[in-house]
């Protein structure tokens, strides 16, 4: 079977009006506007296999949302092609729309003044979900996300996190095969984030839902996705295992040694990130790791030594700052 999501050479160029200073220019711009072309997404290709969860990373304005909008049929690409479940998404074929879901921000699916249950009923009708399936899913999803007692409360009385959970339930009711989650945990507290992550993972495992996920929180991505696609300034930077990200983008590893008798001068070994009487953390170039480690072991009585990849946040930050 073909991969449910295929992007090949997706490109989106926006025409942006040039704003000029000066009153005269502003008046002129009312009649004839000059435009500048902005390439929001440049030749992006990737595939997502059935039942995969892929994290989609990139700094703000990198083109993540633009890409998701093309994959959900909200934007027409300037060039390139895409297939979601075999359909060109921007044709917005109803059969396709019935099989995907998009969660983009808060309260998009929900009727602000009414209990969530009413909005769910509307979605049930939109997607033609049979009664029995509907009831079962509501009960199950609400229980998993711990919102059963909130189903009859108006959305406006719910907290941000509770609303997001309802939003996700609404999006999952019709049993979509592919789900696009744009920042599903933004603004949620840690417990809520964890709950939402677990829910997405369960849906993926139990129902085989394919997920493309963007998030600001590395914790989200590392908890849910084994594979990441990174874009920056509209171009694809990396597509592969999450674990490989550090290897690819970070030229350093960290070595943490628990010891009390290291020499004061460690400048020949690497950059000292942290030093306490009992512990030293060093940043060491990747190809010198084993050499430095053995020199450390030789120079002092070491009670513990750990070689670690740098924190994912740092790697990502480095990726984005480098490419800018």
């Amino acid at each position: 079977m073909d991969a449910p999501v295929v992007a090949s050479g997706l490109t989106k160029t926006f025409k942006v009006p040039v704003r000029q200073g000066g009153l005269k220019e502003s008046v002129k711009s009312l009649f004839r506007r000059e435009f500048r072309l902005v390439e929001a997404v440049k030749d992006v290709s990737f595939e997502i296999g059935a039942g995969e969860i892929v994290g989609f990373l990139g700094p703000n304005g990198a083109g993540k949302t633009t890409t998701i909008k093309m994959l959900t049929g909200l934007l027409h690409p300037t060039a390139g092609d895409a297939r979601v479940l075999g359909y060109q998404p921007w044709k917005r074929d109803k059969d396709l729309l019935r099989r995907i879901a998009l969660v983009m921000g808060q309260r998009n699916n929900l009727q602000w003044d009414l209990p969530a249950e009413d909005s769910f009923l509307l979605n049930k009708a939109i997607y033609g979900v049979p009664d029995s399936v509907y009831r079962r899913r509501i009960d199950e999803f609400a229980q998993r996300l711990e919102v059963t007692h909130l189903l009859d409360k108006p959305i406006r009385n719910l907290s941000l996190g509770e609303r997001m959970k309802m939003e996700i339930i609404a999006a999952m009711l019709h049993g979509p095969e592919v789900v696009f989650l744009d920042e599903p945990t933004i603004g949620l507290d840690v417990t809520m984030q964890r709950r939402v992550r677990q829910f997405v993972l369960d849906m993926n495992k139990e129902e085989g839902v394919t997920v493309l996920l963007t998030s600001h929180y590395m914790a989200d991505v590392s908890a849910m996705a084994e594979r990441v696609v990174v874009i920056s300034q509209g171009s694809l930077l990396y597509d592969g295992a999450l674990a490989g990200l550090a290897e690819r983008f970070s030229s350093h590893k960290t070595i943490r040694v628990d010891t009390t008798d290291l020499p004061a001068d460690l400048s020949g070994l690497g950059r000292v990130l942290e030093r306490t009487p009992e512990r030293v953390t060093l940043e060491v170039e990747r190809d010198r790791v084993s050499e430095v480690a053995s020199r450390l072991l030789a120079a002092a009585t070491v009670t513990d030594l750990a070689i670690e990849e740098p924190p994912l946040e740092d790697v990502i930050e480095r990726v984005f700052t480098q490419s800018r």
């Binding site: 995907i100 049930k124 009708a125 033609g128």
Partner: protein, 272 residues
């Protein structure tokens, strides 16, 4: 809009109308106050025209006091059936991203909005009943309770709703091109005020204005349903009116599908 399975669309309309109904029933106090606020407008017009009729010896433009009263009492119900999706609201829908969710769903948002307002109208009508009772006691309107009139009135208020909903929906498409549509909405609202029969029965307008009104959809949304219920039209005229409503709804529906396609093409090109 097309190629829906009629059965599933019906169940969708039921669900959509339910949401509209529930929401307005939940805010019944607010809805009731809005209804009461609505009343000032027709009471003002009625007072003015009653004063004119009295100054003219009891009749003005073929309306006596009782008929004027009937006109403006039925006005209050027709006014309810004239509320529809505000063209300005498209700006919000686009800006807050809701439109993305709706576009990614397999049912056209036209049905969402149309059914929502249908449900809301039922809630409003329920709350209108006590108001109508009080108005009837005060103004003693003369209503044509003939079953043909009542039956066709039920058709005509919904027909009027459909036409007005489409007019506003087409206008709302302007928001896909500019955020400064409010000037155009203002002009249309003013035209509608005069040429729909909302301000005054069209018979009281100068002849040229009556001719102009014949070219606009507005009279079919407002004056026509009123006239059906107050018995100023014969059966043939009533049926013709319903025909005009259907023709306008059809024409506007076609116009909408064309404009909608252009709007979405533009939206797909620029996003937001």
């Amino acid at each position: 809009m097309t190629t829906e399975n009629p059965f599933s669309l019906l169940s969708y309309y039921r669900a959509g109308a339910r949401v509209g109904f529930q929401r307005d029933l939940q805010y019944r106090m607010a809805t009731f106050m809005v209804l009461v606020a609505f009343l000032f407008e027709p009471v003002v017009y009625l007072s003015v025209w009653t004063a004119v009729a009295r100054a003219q010896g009891g009749m003005v433009g073929g309306f006596d006091e009782g008929q004027l009263a009937a006109y403006y009492v039925v006005w209050t119900l027709v006014r309810i059936y004239n509320t529809a999706f505000d063209p300005k609201a498209w700006e919000w829908r686009i800006r807050d991203g809701r439109i993305n969710t709706f576009l990614s769903q397999p049912v056209h948002m036209f049905h969402r909005d149309f059914s929502f307002f249908m449900g809301s109208k039922i809630a409003w009508t329920l709350m209108w009943i006590p108001i109508a009772a009080v108005l009837t006691l005060i103004f003693r309107p003369s209503i044509a309770w003939h079953p043909v009139n009542v039956g066709l009135f039920l058709v005509a208020i919904w027909g009027g709703y459909a036409v007005r909903f489409l007019v506003l929906y087409v206008l709302g498409m302007i928001n896909f091109w500019t955020t400064r549509g409010s000037a155009i909405f203002g002009i249309v609202t003013a035209l509608e005020m005069i040429f729909s029969g909302r301000l005054v029965p069209l018979q009281l307008l100068p002849a040229w204005a009556q001719d102009a009104a014949a070219w606009m959809p507005f009279r079919w949304t407002f004056q026509f349903p009123i006239e059906v219920l107050i018995g100023r039209l014969d059966t043939a005229q009533m049926l013709a009116g319903v025909g005009y409503q259907a023709a306008w709804a059809l024409g506007l529906g076609l116009l909408f599908t064309v404009v909608w396609r252009a709007a979405i093409r533009r939206y797909e090109a620029v996003g937001n």
